[in-house]
Symmetry: C2
Amino acid sequence: MTPTDRPLIFVTNDDGVQAAGIAALMRLAAEFGDVVAVAPNESYSGMSHSITMQRPLFVSAVSREPGLEVYSCTGTPVDCVKIGFDEILRDRVPDLVLSGINHGSNANVSVVYSGTMGAATEAAMYGLPAIGLSLTDHSPAADFSAAVHYAREVIGRVLSCPAEQRKGLCLNVNVPNIPLDEIRGIRVCRQTRGNWREDFVHRTDPQNRDYYWMSGRFCNEEPEAVDSDEWALRQGFVAVVPVQMDLTDYARLDSLRERLDTGN
Amino acid sequence: MTPTDRPLIFVTNDDGVQAAGIAALMRLAAEFGDVVAVAPNESYSGMSHSITMQRPLFVSAVSREPGLEVYSCTGTPVDCVKIGFDEILRDRVPDLVLSGINHGSNANVSVVYSGTMGAATEAAMYGLPAIGLSLTDHSPAADFSAAVHYAREVIGRVLSCPAEQRKGLCLNVNVPNIPLDEIRGIRVCRQTRGNWREDFVHRTDPQNRDYYWMSGRFCNEEPEAVDSDEWALRQGFVAVVPVQMDLTDYARLDSLRERLDTGN
């Protein structure tokens, strides 16, 4: 491909290269620039920030048109970002990285389990601006039109940010599954506190072995917090949470130093 | 098993139930209380916070002795925690969760990719105190004696914390791969800033398909930061970083609200 003066947009997801959500996102991205997409060959939902260390990765070109290159990779979303940046793009540096549009919410602590957000945060660790986009509808045939409308708005605003503000910016964008004209606007929020508890579905296979299907429910510890992403979604807003990957629990540092530091 | 008055210690890892590191950790945990271990049936290194959504989980008892129950699970480290808490332990609540001892460092941003730390942070999201332990030696036959010595010290101090300080406490403990008498002590640190870049090993298989092995190197953005975990390890200290899973980038909230908020 011959480089152009248009912005370079890197696209990935966790639902797989064939998903409707990434098709919608690639079409949208092409409005803003040249697109290179590297996405998993199958669903890697729930794969978080995982990387493939036990087996090699296979990559194949799905399509190569001017302004739109699409690759399929046998790895996780984070693998797709890494092989996309370090092996496929090499010296071409994306102006923006988009991940999604995910079939299902990645609000609250779901951000931690999400392959969509794993890919977005990985890109941000390379210093690039990244946006993970999710629609709160798990259906493979979900209607992405409202999500695309708001994704277009967020992408335009991020691309118009000064470069120093874009560096390492990572947004977790969740769009409520309601008609476009019922969405009330965009709210920048923080991640809702809570956790996922599991009600495992327990069955026995024909060889009499027990097996379990994971089946979780989110326990919201702060349903009334008006600055939380779950609250914003429930009120009909698009929830935007900026995320970062320094996991240090700074609030505990001083008391732990008193309790644990030894030697000199 | 009949419950006892001893503390209940839950143990897991990401190198698999057969690894030398978890064997050392189970022996150590038994000094402090009754042990229930649920660990992957094979290596799940690099699996981060991933959960298994595409297939069911199989669980089998490896051993059931008084004070030591060990289970093998066909899922990720986070799956092991979830099925351990919600299906195996049920009403028994662990006093402490231990993950490791990992064969290899989980310092710096490696914490994000680590299955060992995925399990520890999952336990902390249930409100429990959790310690992820790693030795900076990838060898399957690594010498864990120094790591066990310092793990014993950290576990003892965490168990003696007041209950309100233990709630949701999560520690990422990395032990340098040097002889015990050369370790200078324990340092509470913050996560080193930097990222992992990949030099993929590119080969061609007998069917002429290209494949790639991931092969990364950590790029330390702050090698001289004396409060960082990489610095502490290099100086011969055991590095202890408290971690938490609210990924919100609070520093960006206000400027993003001005740029993105719409509607009312």
